[in-house]
């Protein structure tokens, strides 16, 4: 009886804690939805800010985030894919891959503000790119590099070894096998990795604080060397640097919800693609 009571009590505590965590997380989301939903409109998304940031929309911030994300993925994808392919297909073991693996894991754990300082010292100052889309997206590309490498590697690992061997047995070279057999098989999972890193790059604030983002720009960015408004920074700036708190907090609520929608939508899409791909594989294997 004592044993049963212990089990009941133990599982009760576990369930209570889980319920508490889920309730709090749900409450946060519901709070943000409730406060922000009324503010989002077509004009809010498509118009620039007006009246010293107290009215109008957030279009320049959305556009700026789009630029930053686009270029950071563009910069990060070639080395990311190459690294994953090299580690998985050419040198799965050995001291060299060990070092690369350790550096990937450590890079993933570097605080985001440290990336920001690195970007400031190297891209903004040393290379003279200034506070710009270029500096910001280069910085962000380092932030998402470990994510791209490790998720691509996982994707490559799910491709069965027998397919590679079959291709090689037919006389294909290693690179042909990778390009024509392995990569096409892994494409959906690689796409998942890309979408996840888009979500990550879109939400990061600290790396762009000193490298790309400004509170307000008079006009939309003209080149890679323009400074930009960005959605996550916009939220932060509105609530901490704003001069008209009562009116600006509404815009901050709306911006938070837009960012939240964006990131959740991207993650959901990534998870869906991965699930479909997985079930497709299970079918082949059976």
């Amino acid at each position: 009886m004592n044993k049963r009571f212990k089990q009941a009590l133990g599982f009760f505590i576990v369930k209570t804690l889980v319920l508490a965590a889920l309730t709090v997380l749900a409450a946060i989301l519901i709070f943000l939805f409730a406060k922000g939903a009324g503010i989002i409109s077509w004009d809010f998304l498509a118009k620039p800010p007006e009246n010293s940031m107290t009215e109008g929309g957030i279009f320049p911030a959305i556009l700026g985030t789009f630029y930053l994300v686009f270029f950071s993925v563009l910069f990060s994808l070639p080395p990311g894919l190459a690294c994953a392919i090299y580690l998985n297909e050419y040198s799965p073991k050995g001291w060299f891959s060990g070092i690369i693996r350790i550096s990937i894991n450590n890079l993933a754990g570097v605080p985001s503000i440290v990336f920001g300082l690195f970007g400031l010292a190297v891209f903004v100052k040393q290379l003279g790119f200034g506070v710009s889309i270029l500096s910001g997206s280069l910085t962000l590309s380092i932030v998402i590099l470990p994510l791209i490498i490790s998720s691509t590697q996982e994707a490559l690992m799910t491709v069965p070894q027998s397919i590679r061997e079959a291709s090689m047995a037919l006389g294909a070279t290693k690179w042909t096998t990778i390009r024509r057999i392995v990569l096409p098989q892994a494409t959906p999972s690689i796409l998942t990795a890309v979408i996840l890193s888009i979500g990550r790059a879109a939400g990061e604030t600290a790396p762009i604080l000193f490298t790309a983002a400004v509170f307000y720009t008079r006009e939309l960015p003209k080149s890679l060397f323009s400074e930009v408004m960005a959605l996550p920074y916009h939220i932060y700036a509105l609530i901490t640097e704003g001069t008209h708190p009562e009116t600006q907090i509404k815009i901050a609520y709306g911006s938070s919800l837009v960012l939240l929608f964006m990131v959740l939508f991207l993650s959901m899409a990534a998870i869906r693609i991965r699930q479909r791909h997985r079930s497709h594989y299970d079918k082949i294997r059976r």
Partner: protein
């Protein structure tokens, strides 16, 4: 037989991929070099120990003070509070998903964890500013709601999904046979979870806690927005603090290029980097042992 030209092409591709795969190593090394180079003037002019042990952080006064002890203390206090929240909740979540949840619940909860951990920190920080800090101020009758407790709570909530998801992986890694053997000996589910599964997964769980701690120490936006920002050695967790990350983020914008203030902020970043680097290496080593231990028994 492959032709000679083809062989050369194959080799070239391999070297090309090899060269590109050095990127992460190069960036990590670049970060270390840059942090050292930019913080050396601060250590040289102010002195390493005077900085580390200094109790006053008044970088803009004349003469300035660059003691970062209050900032380090702030970081640790906030991180401690966040761990006290995220570890029990995250662990409970992991146990629930791997041992109690039904198939359908699992299929819902695992992606949900991933979704929750993708929420940007600035959104959590925003929620902390508009809801939690005023809430705490009202109900605990504080002079300000922006304090170590508020930042710690938000950080804790934020890292719970991460710890849950990593710990769940660790629990899942425990071989089925362990569980079956325990049931065969007459243990019930609770006994099996607490005396067999959790102990076998202990190093995996510790890894997830270490990684979660590293994230919490390095988190910037949440603490920047809600920790209150006062650089004084905290006497209690209800006081405003200024963790290392928030000092860097808040002050780098104003610190003129090349001044002692500028370099001292890099010095803080170097110390921060050192802390997370050590945590990551520790997590890596423990995780490796864990896999070896359970891998052998699989």
């Amino acid at each position: 037989m492959a032709k000679k030209g083809e062989k050369i092409k194959e080799k070239l591709i391999e070297y090309f991929l090899f060269a590109l795969s050095l990127a992460s190593l190069v960036f990590l090394a670049g970060i270390v070099v840059t942090l050292f180079r930019e913080s050396l003037p601060a250590f040289r002019d102010i002195g390493f120990f005077r900085m580390i042990a200094g109790r006053d952080w008044y970088p803009t006064y004349d003469p300035p003070d660059f003691g970062i002890l209050p900032l380090i203390a702030g970081s640790f206090l906030v991180t401690l509070i966040s761990i006290l929240i995220s570890v029990p909740l995250g662990l409970a979540g992991a146990v629930y998903i791997s041992e109690l949840a039904g198939k359908k619940e699992k299929a819902f909860l695992k992606p949900a964890l991933e979704l929750l951990s993708s929420i940007p920190s600035v959104v959590y920080g925003f929620w902390g500013m508009v809801f939690l800090a005023p809430f705490l101020q009202k109900h605990l009758e504080l002079s300000t709601g922006y304090c170590a407790l508020a930042a710690g709570i938000v950080l804790g909530i934020m890292s719970t999904p991460i710890i849950a998801s990593l710990s769940e992986d660790a629990l899942n890694y425990v071989p089925r046979a362990f569980k079956e053997a325990s049931y065969a000996l007459g243990a019930n589910r609770w006994e099996t979870v607490t005396r067999v599964i959790i102990p076998s997964a202990a190093s995996g769980i510790i890894t997830s806690v270490i990684l979660g701690t590293g994230r919490a120490i390095g988190e910037t936006m949440v603490v920047l927005m809600i920790s209150g920002g006062s650089a004084i050695l905290p006497q209690s967790f209800l006081e405003p603090v200024r963790p290392m990350t928030s000092a860097i983020a808040a002050e780098m914008g104003e610190a003129a290029f090349g001044t002692p203030h500028y370099h001292s902020l890099f010095a803080i970043a170097l110390i921060l980097f050192g802390i997370t680097f050590v945590l990551n290496l520790a997590a890596e080593m423990i995780a490796k042992k864990f896999r070896l231990k359970l891998g052998a028994s699989r």
